[in-house]
């Protein structure tokens, strides 16, 4: 049964996009050539690899992939840096306050994602909250340019994806046995040593899960770079939009999507294999 759903919601759309990526754009409905057609009663499949070659031939696409990866990696790291202390302190709270703290982490997600990003436009813009306040204090004379910069994109991504880092880390950290830390301290470890040698290694699974949950959607992010980023913020989600809507080239857009999927799935599979191996190691 789970395989049926996987087939329906993942494999079918995937295969359709894969098929389109081997076609050629045309002014027609739908706007691409047929991959499969009939000649004298025999089916003929014509696969065109030129869309993939085209992606290789223009440095724009490679640069867009690389720049998306960079933005995703940096924001994941920032999320980890901010999220770890948050998750750690929540896990150390008394159960009653802990629930309130968790609620506060999740609460913003009850508002539409789009509206929260719009709110950041209002905060960062030249005429916005931060600039007006700094000018009121007299710290700056003219507004700082924050909106439509790479920094705004990082702020947006870190803000939007922080809960996805905090929650898996919290689930992991809350299960830790505090006696381990006591034992470490009895054996002469300073608090930071105990953290590095006990807590951090034990929370590895949480760190990896959190990083995956943040990095993967961040690579394909479209809304945040579109609204907070400047025109020079190059991300693969934007390139894909452009191919699909501006160039009206569905085949090239599908090829871009296929490559993006491959770039995301390969690391996930490596990660899964590593995890499976680790499990085996524990069992034996």
């Amino acid at each position: 049964m789970p395989y049926f759903w996987l087939l329906l919601f993942f494999a079918v759309p995937f295969l359709i996009a894969l098929k389109i990526s081997f076609a050629k754009a045309a002014i027609a409905m739908p706007p691409y050539t047929d991959v499969l057609y009939w000649v004298d009663g025999f089916p003929v499949v014509k696969l065109r690899g030129e869309n993939y070659l085209y992606l290789l031939g223009d440095s724009l696409y490679i640069n867009a992939y690389l720049s998306s990866l960079k933005i995703a990696v940096v924001s994941t790291f920032l999320c980890l840096l901010l999220g770890y202390p948050m998750a750690y302190s929540i896990s150390r709270m008394a159960p009653a306050t802990r629930n309130i703290a968790l609620l506060l982490v999740i609460l913003p997600s009850w508002t539409s994602f789009l509206i929260r990003i719009y709110a950041w436009v209002g905060i960062l813009k030249p005429n916005g909250l931060i600039n007006n306040y700094l000018m009121y204090l007299g710290l700056i004379d003219s507004p700082l340019k924050m909106l439509h910069t790479p920094i705004a994109v990082y702020i947006g991504i870190v803000y939007a994806y922080l809960p996805f880092m905090v929650l898996p880390l919290y689930t992991n950290l809350v299960k830790h046995d505090h006696r381990l830390l006591e034992a470490a301290s009895d054996l002469g470890a300073k608090p930071w040593q105990a953290f590095l040698k006990v807590t951090l290694p034990l929370s590895k699974a949480g760190i990896i899960a959190g990083c995956m949950l943040v990095a993967i959607p961040a690579v394909g992010e479209f809304v945040i770079p579109e609204m907070l980023g400047g025109p020079e913020t190059l991300m693969i989600g934007r390139v894909l939009w452009q191919e699909f809507f501006n160039n009206r080239d569905w085949p090239v857009a599908s090829a871009v999507a296929m490559v993006m999927l491959a770039l995301l799935i390969i690391p996930i599979m490596i990660f899964h294999r590593a995890q499976a191996k680790e499990m085996e190691g524990k069992l034996t």
Binding site: M29, S59, A64, P126, P231, Q242, F245, N247, R248, D249
Partner: protein, 305 residues
Amino acid sequence: MFDSNEVLEAKLMTGKSGYDVVVPSLTFLARQIQAGVFMPLDKSKIPNYANMDPQIQALIAQNDKDNTHSANYLWGTTGIAYNEDMLKERLGADAPVDDWKLIFDPQYISKMTDCGVYILDTPSEILPIALLYLGEEPNSFDPAVIQKGVDLMLKIRPHITQFHSSQVIDALANGDACLAIAWSGDVLQAANRAEEAGKGVKVGYSIPKQGAPMWFDMMAIPKDAEHPNNAHVFINYMLKAEVMAGIQNYVEYASANAAAAKPGIGDHRIYPTPEVQATLFSLAVIPPEVDRIFNRAWTTIKTGQ
């Protein structure tokens, strides 16, 4: 509902969009007609079609032969929008607002960067304007000529703060943008909003003397519309003189409906004077391979890649 021509086109091209009437821009409509998306209008069901201004109909017929598939909803121009006070403060009272050099000559645009310069994110409109400024044929499909426009854009690129087609209304109204290439009706809406907000933001609009693109929003019926009869009735209603007059009052775009009382007729930002109207040009329908050149060059302009 759809939020842009691009999204509408993607829906129409997939088929079974579920729409009975759609309103794409003429350049998009022309390509969609080629793809076989629309049914010819049955003019016998649209008696109010007789209200249309023959001069404008002739312009539209360049892209929809004999006005077979569509009826004009509204039209407008693409010109220069500016914040009156900020412009005066930076360039003096005699700033050349009626000249494209305000945008394309670095000595002017560079002084406006600090208060926000917005450019429409539509290469198919902005590059022809750049070519017009250079004295080239605006609708040229010659890559060498297009490149001249691209080079001009690259020269002013450092002074542009944002490329966007829909954020500009808000940005002008709030005073976050002080100079823009924008659509006439959007600018007038921004001017009205600024007035309502009462923060003293005054938004101006001008059609430069070199000329400007003129565009048309067209009503058409998809072939697979479920209620084609109702669609005809709706288009006929929209072309009724009183109805169109009411719409114009509200959206501040121009109408090709000759019978409708034209409330904005005295406002030359909406209805240019005959002399200015003579300088306007309509945009050509761009073949796919040229479209790719436009969009690729546009990415270079925006990102430096």
